[in-house]
Symmetry: C2
């Protein structure tokens, strides 16, 4: 009395096992659709349904005429689609900004005790560089912050929200904000971080 899973879900599972047992890494090639179909005793269409699902999640990349490849996790595809469905509810747009700010704030606090002087200098230069677009500055700045937290999951959620918010409107802070944050890092003042974020909050 197995719960009768759909074939494409089994295929999904098998592909995952294959990746694991063969130690595939981003960039590596998966077997061809026909090969998988034969190996897993499933129709090619079922294999394709599974692959499309994984592709949409951003876990693989298919290249016409070449093959299917593991990709580094890029949630962008997922984001676009989810956005087109979810963002219809107008309320969620505001939610996204709130949550993104919240996560940025906490990341900034976690990075506090880990960031080095050299990194602070680099970021200072970044913010004051007139040749870089503000939007790019924001991303690079917080990319660095999130790297320091060493919480990959947090970074991923943030990137996801970045993608979302990007489609709504610009979402950088004024450049004052970044400089003040860096100076708090330099002077090793922890508590004012929270205050700083709340002050610049874009509600």
């Amino acid at each position: 009395m197995t719960p009768k899973q759909k074939v494409y879900q089994e295929v999904l599972h098998e592909i995952r096992k294959f990746i694991e047992s063969n130690d595939l890494e981003p960039g590596d090639k998966l077997p061809s659709e026909r090969e998988l179909s034969e190996k897993l005793q499933a129709g090619r269409s079922s294999v394709r349904e599974a692959l499309r699902a994984i592709e949409l999640l951003g876990l693989i990349e298919t290249r016409h005429g070449e093959g299917t490849f593991l990709s580094t996790y890029r949630p962008y595809q997922t984001v676009d689609l989810l956005a087109s469905f979810i963002l219809q509810e107008n309320k969620t747009k505001n939610d996204i900004m709130l949550v993104k700010e919240l996560i940025e704030k906490e990341a900034a606090k976690i990075a506090f005790s880990r960031i080095t002087e050299q990194e602070i200098n680099t970021l200072n230069k970044l913010i004051q560089d007139p040749a870089i677009r503000d939007e790019q500055k924001h991303r690079t700045f917080f990319n660095c912050i999130f790297e320091k937290t060493e919480i990959l999951l947090l970074a991923r959620i943030w990137m996801l929200l970045e993608e979302f918010s990007h489609t709504i409107h610009a979402d950088e802070y004024p450049s004052d904000f970044y400089l003040k944050l860096l100076s708090l890092y330099e002077s090793k003042e922890y508590e004012p971080i929270e205050t700083l974020f709340n002050f610049y909050s874009k509600k």
Copy 2:
């Protein structure tokens, strides 16, 4: 020279438009695969690839022999799959706990100024009720907290992480924790909330 999208991606887009223009709501029925196939001038397999993708994202639900229906957004399917891929990296397990705690903390802070005495009483009873499992207490408790934040997105991310963490191990706080948090709410002390969370953090 259009960038030549794949058929299933166009279908994806058409389905979304269909839902929007017909004002479909969760529970409503989508046209059958064959009907969509004919209407959109695409093969049935392409339509299915699109539907599988949407299904995996938890946006629709297909019932064998009945049809395809819009569902309220349930990320659980996505979670399971992403989990099976991502959780291979052992490090992320710890990440999940960290991020979940972080979000619970922030939600507790946001709820601070919005929670009523009556709700505090209800939660007090909940925690002290010996008939309820600890795990259930945790969920109910924070469900209430997240409702007060009125940030649906935050609640969703939390539920997602709950699902994840559930598969790892129990993750409640000692019941002391909940009672102390409630007493902070009662005595209207904001700052100690942060400290409380950090003290009980399960690192």
